[in-house]
Symmetry: C2
DNA sequence: TTTGGCACTCCCGCTACAAGAGTGCTGATT
DNA sequence: AATCAGCACTCTTGTAGCGGGAGTGCCAAA
């Protein structure tokens, strides 16, 4: 438990809890009188003021000005979500809606979009889902097509139906027939393995082939090496409902809104952030400045990693103002992650 | 010439011109005193006030309130851009920057992104480029891969290196070998033709093959028919620099901004609008409500279609507030369209 | 330790007022 | 007939003042 839970007695925590809840629902600084009525403890406003002074000393709450109520600080929110939160399980209607929408019937790309849309609609904030990581994708098929200038268009299919393509430059000019042969060769020996496994095998085979000096195979493997070079298989995410964020007063400032949206389009920062979330499994929360990214200063990010076959492959979540209904958002994110993972499970989809 | 140019004398037009120019550069309603100094005609403010009253009667300018200067209306802007505008050719530095960035060295997808980015950076507004239309694309290669449940993953390549994929459902279950054969058949007879031509040929051949009852070919052509069904080859565009629009006071209203961005993400409305622009060749301008789309009410759209081999294949442009520097934006858009068209010209890229 | 009381601070909305900018109109000038 | 100076009028903008309300901090009593 954090340092604060030891320093503070039960009563102070109870008051902090009601304060945060009240602030989240109203958006107004909450004063001692309201708090006195709202909490079940029978305390006078005066007593509560004393407690508030203590909480302020600890940096858990903050007064916008002398004569306003108190507002939770980032630490206050943090203590709240870590120790005081009572999550509200989602009702059966919402649950069945989620289950219905996330049943395994579309391809991965669609599923990600659907999950993102669901999160955005459910929370009225922005939903984000990363595309599954490459480690678990399974290589299925490759094709080489000649372009001009020693360039070759590589098309490869992973998993069930995901198509990737890139252009590689070859040292020498290959005829269409040679390319066809190379593709056949690669398809015949690597199909079915994971991309990572293929990548490793390719490196190993390249050395072997070099010794055996079989030019055709060597060419094929050389091209495969380029094709599966992971550097330009960039991580990516699908973001939906950004515009929902425009309504929040926390983002009323034009510059703040602009830098947030710039970060969305820039992508790299968000990817890094989501990457951190993926490491911790289960629900992960960044409140305000905790993320370390200026653009997210007044936002919170609630994420959960999602897994296929017990392996974490991606992360999804919700972006909104720090003042969000965590007790509802957290279960939304949690369940969506579980359902998405289940829906993407290849075992669930019938074999070829 | 429009009705107004006949009704109005030279002087009034001259004044309208300076008014619009002044308003565009300052963003403030412009009054008679400023106008008197700004215009070369030696007129007293009083005289100008008379002229302004006339222009207001004609609906070309408008007073925000009794004692403010005048602001151009949509009709005012229209008259300005149609008849009064003196375009500023871009300087050699800008021109060479454009030419350098848009030289034919990347694939189509990249080029579109680059053009969009250039427009956004140059104008500090939002740049948009539609992806080239399918009519002129040239079919190159097709591949069928079996999925579960009679579903087939179709991958086809057009032009130099554009890869498309979709999933079709087949009436019966095909073996991988059969699919391979079908692909070979289609590749052998349709490669090199335009997609439209292929689409037509496929329909014709399907009828012929049916009579000849060659089952293999019939299957192949049936699948090709599904693959090239144009219904789900949706038009699309690349939009860059949306966030630039957040700075403009015209879009300060949160709801207005939201509905604009919603339209961007929705895409269909914007596509329809851009489609209209494509019909008129050369530069096309929608000012404010002229577009007919609520979300664009306070925006202007300056577009130009771009052509490859003398055939219009797409449209690009700039989205910004009605109060934009048309005299600079128009040449930007114009030149970018020409350069993009040239860069995409297949003749410019060496043959295979 | 809790509580009522009280003075104090600060925000917010309202009003008033003066300055500034620009207009419309009128009547004189050319 | 066109132009223009002058003037009264309107409307915005900024500033200042004022009262009410909300909430605090502190103190002294229970």
């Amino acid at each position: 438990m954090g340092k604060h839970t030891q320093l503070l007695n039960e009563r102070s925590l109870q008051l902090l809890k009601t304060l945060v809840e009240r602030y989240i629902s109203d958006g107004q600084p909450v004063g001692s009188r309201v708090l006195s009525k709202d909490s079940d403890l029978n305390l006078s406003p005066a007593t509560i003021r004393n407690v508030m002074a203590d909480l302020e000393d600890l940096g858990l709450v903050h007064s916008p000005h002398t004569s306003a109520g108190r507002v939770p600080t980032v630490s206050g929110y943090r203590l709240f979500v870590d120790n005081l939160l009572t999550v509200k399980p989602l009702n059966t209607q919402e649950l069945s809606h989620l289950e219905g929408s996330l049943s395994a019937q579309h391809d991965t790309g669609h599923m990600i979009g659907i999950a993102s849309r669901l999160l955005a609609d459910l929370t009225q904030m922005a939903g984000v889902v990363t595309v599954p990581r490459r480690e678990i994708v399974c290589f299925r098929h490759i094709e080489f097509l000649p372009l001009s200038h020693n360039r070759v268009l590589v098309i490869f299919v992973t998993n069930e139906q995901e198509v990737h393509n890139k252009i590689i430059h070859t040292a020498k000019l290959f005829s269409p027939a040679e390319l066809q042969q190379a593709a056949n060769y690669i398809n015949s020996i690597y199909t079915g393995r994971s991309l990572n496994a293929v990548r490793e095998a390719v490196i190993k085979d390249w050395q072997d082939d070099r010794e055996r000096v079989n030019q055709g195979m060597l060419d094929a493997v050389t091209m495969a090496q380029q094709a599966f070079n992971q550097d330009d298989l960039k991580d990516d995410y699908v973001l939906v409902g950004e515009t929902n964020l425009m309504g929040f007063s926390e983002l009323a400032d034009r510059d703040r809104l602009k830098s947030l949206f710039d970060a969305f389009y820039q992508k790299q920062g968000v990817i890094d952030l989501l990457d951190q979330c993926m490491k911790a499994d289960g629900v992960q929360i960044f409140i305000g400045e905790e993320s370390g990214y200026q653009a997210f200063d007044h936002c919170s990010l609630v994420t959960s990693s999602y897994s296929v076959s017990d392996e974490v492959v991606g992360v999804l979540g919700v972006i909104g103002p720090t003042r969000m209904a965590y007790e509802k958002i957290i279960p939304y994110v949690d369940i969506t992650a579980k359902l998405l993972g289940a829906a993407l499970n290849p075992k669930a989809t019938p074999p070829l």
